[in-house]
Amino acid sequence: MADSQSLRQGIPGNLARKKQQWRLTVLERRELFKALLFISPWLMGFLAFQLYPILSSLYYSLTAYDVLRPPVFVGLENYQELFQDRFFVNALYNTLYYTLFAVPGGVVVGFALASLLNTNLYLRSVLRTIYYLPAIVPQFISAMVWLWIYNTQYGLINVFLASYGLKGIPWLSSTTWSKPSLILISLWASGTTMVIFLAALQDVPKELYEAARLDGANSLQELRHVTVPLVTPAILFNALISIIGALQYFSIAWIMTEGGPQRSTEFLGLYLYRSAFAFFRMGYASAVAWVLLALTVVIALLVFRTSAHWVYYGGEKL
């Protein structure tokens, strides 16, 4: 019927079919309305508290805006400035450094812990809780505890090293050690990654291990040819979430180092915060935020693109 109608109206057949696909019946419209009604609370929240601020920040990134006075449109000046700003470049470097080491490290540590906790250990459930706890400790508390652990004179680690006659490490006061110190804290808090890997490991069919053993595989070969391929979806998920979190790293660094020493722990999040709230440069800070968003999207897309080559779902390649 669509074809005869479209013929009468002079509309090409395939276009008419597409138009018909989009045209809703009365019942479909009614169902759509009800669906929108049910999700309207979330929708209103999304529009008011997410989409509106996002679009506002895009506009403000094109302005000189100190929050207390109306914004002044400056076009792309903020974006031009930030790529010439050595402090922004420094913050970008620090952020990428942190992401490059904290993300793979967190994935490896999480996987290793999950593998260990997937065995028949005595008090396994207690150990799982203990290893998960750091992930739910409030960041402020973690920061204060680690400030004491990293104390160069009385900290746990340096006192331990001194007991063996070794020189203490200037954890937070050295530009060489400051970022690794923060990365170490993130590895300590790999509980969430661990839990996700644990669930993935428990999904690996036991028969595959039996089959591998029958074929003469040792533990390492089982790990490489059975376990890892089948948990690649979990690896992808953990990597993506960790990358997003690492690029927005803020709280621990702000509390422990405030960007020092010598801006070696001034990440993009800290730089953005300072620009916006300490220096009244909300427009410039919005530009930094959009660059950070673009960076996150690019990296996430790269990970997705490559995932076709290494992620297996249900034993099949993507």
């Binding site: 006075r69 400030l147 020092g260």
Partner: protein, 451 residues
């Protein structure tokens, strides 16, 4: 609709109506309290109201004094309750966010006066001061200047500091082989005394420091600029003087400490101990021999470490002159407060005889009023006599601590990191000063353009 069962359509209609009603109720404007119309001398409010007073201090003698002042105001004005926000005004981010969000405190203790005044976030007080009969001639000119911008006054100063003083721990001096009654009188002596009092273990960790140049009031670029004989701020041209020979002298002097003790060792020491004064500060924990500080120090010492034997003197300067910078705190009224008359009434009370007496009784601090200073009895507060007798009267030069100027936070944040970068060999002094000047100039132009 009034059947035994409710159909799906009816349920959705009811839900829609209910949601809409709830949304309308939530969007209803808050009832605005009636503005107080009383005089500026403690008139009782017509209706009950609560005023938010943000102060920079926390659980210390100053916080206690402020709470008592608020309580006394409430006794005189039973319909007005003043809620004291301890530590609330300590960050410019908080005040700015509150003003921008339309929920400013009714009165706020002010640090960044210029920053906020430039952006019209504070109410000018000139007319209110004139109408209230406050004698500006009795108030130290430097204190008025600190709270002014573009010829208008934006704060009422209620606590005065004399800064650029050096305090020293007499027992540490004695242990280090120094005369406990003889403080340093020159930059060279100060450095030599510091070297003598500093102790480092075999790994280079600083276990006791003579002086941390950027601790206490030393954290401000202005302190060192004045100590080097320079002028931090050009008021006529609205410009900071950063790339100057005097600032270079100051930076080179500070660098000497970093080079002697090690950049990382100093950073580690600062991470291990607290700064300034307080129970966890290096000075009050007796692992720091000298501290650059101000006239609030004796009152705080009495509270946290009364047994510590401390001396006070002028901070040595490059020129040999005795320089005194006036600091202190004042209160202001953010724009868009709900009841500016009530805010002013309370501020006036804080600055009254009652408020000043409470400040003295509890914190041993005083307003910058000449008539008040003349009546003070510093006995019972070791060290305060030096400030009252000498700091103000014997100074060769007087200025004011300029952290209330616009963009001071931006300017000063670069000061500290710049010092560390130069000390670590990442930059030369001249190059760093030029960059610092450029950054602040650019930001200042941007801020002025938007004004």
């Amino acid at each position: 609709m009034f059947r035994n069962h409710v159909s799906r359509r009816d349920f959705l209609r009811l839900a829609l109506v209910g949601t809409g009603a709830a949304a309308l109720a939530g969007c209803q404007a808050a009832v605005v309290p009636t503005q107080q119309t009383g005089s500026a001398t403690g008139a009782v409010a017509a209706e009950a109201m609560t005023l938010d007073w943000w102060i920079v201090w926390g659980e210390d003698v100053f916080g206690d004094a402020c709470r008592q002042i608020a309580g006394l105001y409430h006794e005189a004005n039973p319909n007005v309750e003043v809620k004291v926000g301890l530590g609330a005004s300590g960050s410019v981010e908080k005040i700015m966010t509150a003003v921008a969000g339309g929920v400013p405190p009714d009165i706020t203790e002010l640090g960044p006066v210029g920053e906020l005044a430039m952006r019209k976030a504070l109410v000018p007080l000139d007319e209110l001061i004139a109408a209230s009969g406050i004698d500006l001639n009795d108030i130290w000119e430097a204190s008025i200047k600190r709270g002014s911008w573009a010829g208008q006054i934006y704060w009422l100063p209620f606590q005065a500091d004399y800064t650029s003083a050096l305090m020293w721990d007499k027992e540490i001096f004695q242990q280090a082989g120094l005369d406990p009654e003889q403080p340093p009188t020159s930059w060279e002596e100060m450095r030599a005394y510091s070297d003598q009092a500093t102790q480092q273990d075999d790994s280079g960790n600083v276990t006791q420091i003579g002086l941390r140049p950027l601790d206490g009031i030393g954290v401000f670029a202005g302190t060192w600029c004045h100590a080097a004989g320079g002028t931090l701020y050009d008021e006529e041209n609205l410009k900071y003087n950063l790339d100057t020979p005097e600032m270079a002298d100051a930076v080179n002097y500070i660098l000497g400490y970093y080079q002697q003790y090690g950049v990382e060792n100093l950073a580690a020491f600062s991470t291990n101990v607290g700064g300034w004064q307080g129970a966890d500060s290096a000075f009050n924990r007796r692992v720091q021999a000298m501290l650059i500080n101000g006239s609030w120090a004796p009152g705080v010492q009495l509270d946290v470490a009364p047994e510590q034997k401390v001396g006070y003197t002028f901070l040595p300067t490059k020129t040999g002159k005795k320089v005194q910078l006036i600091g202190g705190h004042g209160n202001g009224i953010p724009t868009a407060v709900k009841a500016p008359d009530a805010s002013w009434d309370f501020m006036h009370f804080v600055n009254s005889q009652t408020g000043a007496e409470v400040l003295w009784d509890i914190a041993k601090a005083h307003p910058p009023a000449k008539s008040w200073v003349a009546t003070l009895d510093p006995s019972g507060v070791p060290g305060l006599e030096w400030f009252l007798q000498h700091a103000y009267n014997d100074a060769d030069e007087q200025g004011y601590l300029q952290e209330t100027l616009p963009l001071h936070d931006l300017m000063n944040s670069h000061f500290g990191s710049m010092i560390e970068e130069i000390a670590a060999g990442q930059k030369q002094v001249a190059e760093a000063l030029a960059e610092w000047q450029s950054i602040v100039d650019t930001a200042f132009e941007e801020a002025k353009q938007a004004a």
